[in-house]
Each structure stands twice: as structure tokens, then as C-alpha cells.
């Protein structure tokens, strides 16, 4: 299969592929690197958000 790289479209079969994974408190990260020889020609990154941590708290006031 042909994929887009810094060298234009290349056959994925001609490239060395490395898959990485990291878990962080708020997300999982997966990346895929493609190398032609020693040269990095493509890097994808996928961030899978677990808990984005953006919460607004609604408060109804009370009469003292």
C-alpha cells in the first residue's frame, strides 16, 4: 500500500515501521514511525483522551 511520506508516496512494504505507546494520566498516546533506511519519513500520532479534566462547577446561591 502506498503511503504519504516526506519523500512523496512510498510503498509501505519498503519502510521499517515502529509502533510506540505511552499512557499518561489524561490520555493514551500511540505513534507510528516509518523509516527509509535511517531516515524518518513519516510519523503519525494518535492521542486518545481519557479524562480531559475540563469541568465547570455550577453553584446555586442561597439566601443567608
Amino acid at each position: 500500500m502506498m503511503i504519504h511520506t516526506t519523500k512523496g508516496s512510498l510503498d509501505e512494504a519498503t519502510l521499517a515501521r515502529t509502533l510506540g505507546f505511552e499512557e499518561r494520566p489524561r490520555e493514551f498516546v500511540v505513534w507510528i514511525e516509518y523509516r527509509l533506511g535511517d531516515e524518518l519519513v513519516r510519523r503519525d500520532a494518535h492521542v486518545i483522551m481519557k479524562d480531559p479534566g475540563v469541568v465547570a462547577t455550577a453553584i446555586a446561591g442561597e439566601f443567608a
Binding site: V41, R43, M49, D51, A58, E62
Partner: protein, 150 residues
Amino acid sequence: MSNVSGMCSSFKSEILKGIHALGTSVVRAGTGADTIKAALYLASASRGAGDTVYNSTGEVAGSGYTAGGVAVTNATAPSTSGTTGIWTPSASIVYTSVTLAAFDAVLLYNSTQGDKAISVHNFGSQTVTAGTFTLTMPVHDASNALLRIA
């Protein structure tokens, strides 16, 4: 039985839907949802809760990326889960065929309403080379939704 003070849970999602206007509001072109966009920022930028509108300062730049970012897929209306108002984009946010370095945040903003800021979300610093960057959304519930009014 007794009366209890509290923000009505329904109100929390209705705020997100634009149902209530407790101050001067805006003239809307229709009843459809606004266009929400997602812009990426360098790890060296200073985006945060103090932002009021989209700002290109510190925005990532590189091959295949257009300033202002991409439109967010928004096919799921805000709702209430338990007592929490929630909203999450209905699909991953995807930047294709981009070369971008050292970015670690996305700003969601309302492109329809003068680029007014909605939220900033951090993640670990990322680099993409001639590839695809994907932000996959969290579970759409009271504990994990992208936006929550609890």
C-alpha cells in the same frame, strides 16, 4: 419532603444548547448548531482558561496545517447525564498529511460566534511528520465528557 437549593440539571445542558440568554444575547442566523473549530498550539504557548477568543499567537505552523485548525464534527447535542451537563464532539478530530512539531494543546472555539473560546485541552507534547494527528474523544458521560458542567 423539603425544598433544596440547586442548579437545575436540565439548565446545565440547556446553557450548552444556547436555550437561555440571561444577558444581552446575539441575533442568530438559525436554530442549527454553531460551527466549532479546533486549533493546535505549541508547547511553548500560553493558552488557557483566560482565553476569550481564538488567538493565533503560539499556534502551531507547518506543512498541511491551516491557521485556525479544523472543524469539529458535532452531531451529538449537549445533554444531561445524571446532574451533569455534557458535550463531546461526535467524532475524532483529525489533521491529515501534516508536519508539526512540539505541540501539546488544542483550543476549541466557536467559529460561528466571532471565534469565541470554549475550552483548552492539554496532552503530552507531540510531533507529526508527513502524517496524521488524531485526537480521539473521551467517553461521552458525566465522568469523562470533553465539556462538563457539574
